[in-house]
Subunit: 141 residues, 3 copies
């Protein structure tokens, strides 16, 4: 049996947005013992990551790394890019999404996700402008 | 209950090969309501991506980025590579596979994958020569 | 129904540690036909990969690539990093984990994982010092 639940996150430009609490609440509401939670983002210019949620410098440094690895299309290093319809942050957003995750599976045990002590669930927004991002949670038991 | 179905894609060198339709057909044939589709590629020099299938420039630019990030083993930048048994595209293929996905989980709702409007499923072939690539689809309900 | 099993791997510094046999043994012990095995690592400075387990040079080259793409925080190229609490291998470990996997789903068919002939399951340790790493296996049928 699979329960489906969609959540929407409003983003305010590039960065990591935590939604661990929303996922925990969905799993708790199901009242199950063991199972599998699948988290899926319905976009190709935003992605998913599980990362440390203790020190906020970690997610800032992650964003800094990806912005250097994949600079805006206006940078000379990226002049080979062809897809430029939606601005200099568009194609780099697709690339950063390809380097991270569209989908993550998290085992559920004794009614809760088996996340480690410092693990948080993040939406990684790769576009500059605000977006509404849809995430589907699927709980299979 | 899990239904298993294997598909084989014939590739013609490096690039992204879409197989969204084949996955959709398998899910539709199962006649289920909700569930989870797991897509798994049985190779270590090809991988999986969900990416935009509207503008074909996106997948071309993705391939261009990965070819610059991980150039052929014959490039001076890669002279530290030891595994060179099968030619200059061999070890870079393993690296590009490590940077993308071997497995993707996609929730199924009302009998169909919950893919976003622009999301397509791709096999990412990293070798120069044609290959037959086996993908396993597993539908858990 | 989902069966949960945790395994702990003792690492001895950066590198890839294979645990295919442990996962195979868990799947075999369940005595099932078809299903889905989810492998999940409960850490943000170690990650998961499926890669070739035939030639050990492959995993050594993978580690070499990632160490060049994400050098230690003491390297001038990484002087923008802010999170430095636990030493020069700390923040690069989070970045390398973000570039690989925290979770992998593997279909099970006829009682065994559908791994390809050369595919092995690896824990990718990104820290210099020995660690005990916990991996959760969840078998959904």
């Amino acid at each position: 049996m699979t329960r489906i639940h969609a959540i929407t996150l409003a983003t305010r430009g590039q960065g990591l947005y935590e939604f661990t609490a929303e996922a925990e609440a969905f799993v708790a509401s199901a009242g199950i013992g063991s199972g599998l939670l699948t988290v899926f983002v319905r976009h190709t210019s935003a992605s998913l990551l599980i990362q440390e949620n203790a020190d906020p410098d970690v997610v800032a440094d992650l964003q800094a790394f990806f912005s250097r690895l994949v600079p805006p299309a206006s940078s000379p290093a990226m002049d080979y890019l062809v897809h430029r319809l939606e601005g200099p942050d568009d194609m780099p957003a697709h690339i950063k999404a390809a380097l991270t995750q569209t989908s993550i599976g998290i085992p559920v045990h004794r009614g809760a996700m088996v996340l480690g002590r410092w693990q948080g669930l993040y939406l990684f927004e790769h576009r500059d402008r605000p977006h509404r991002r849809e995430i589907v949670l699927a709980l299979t038991t």
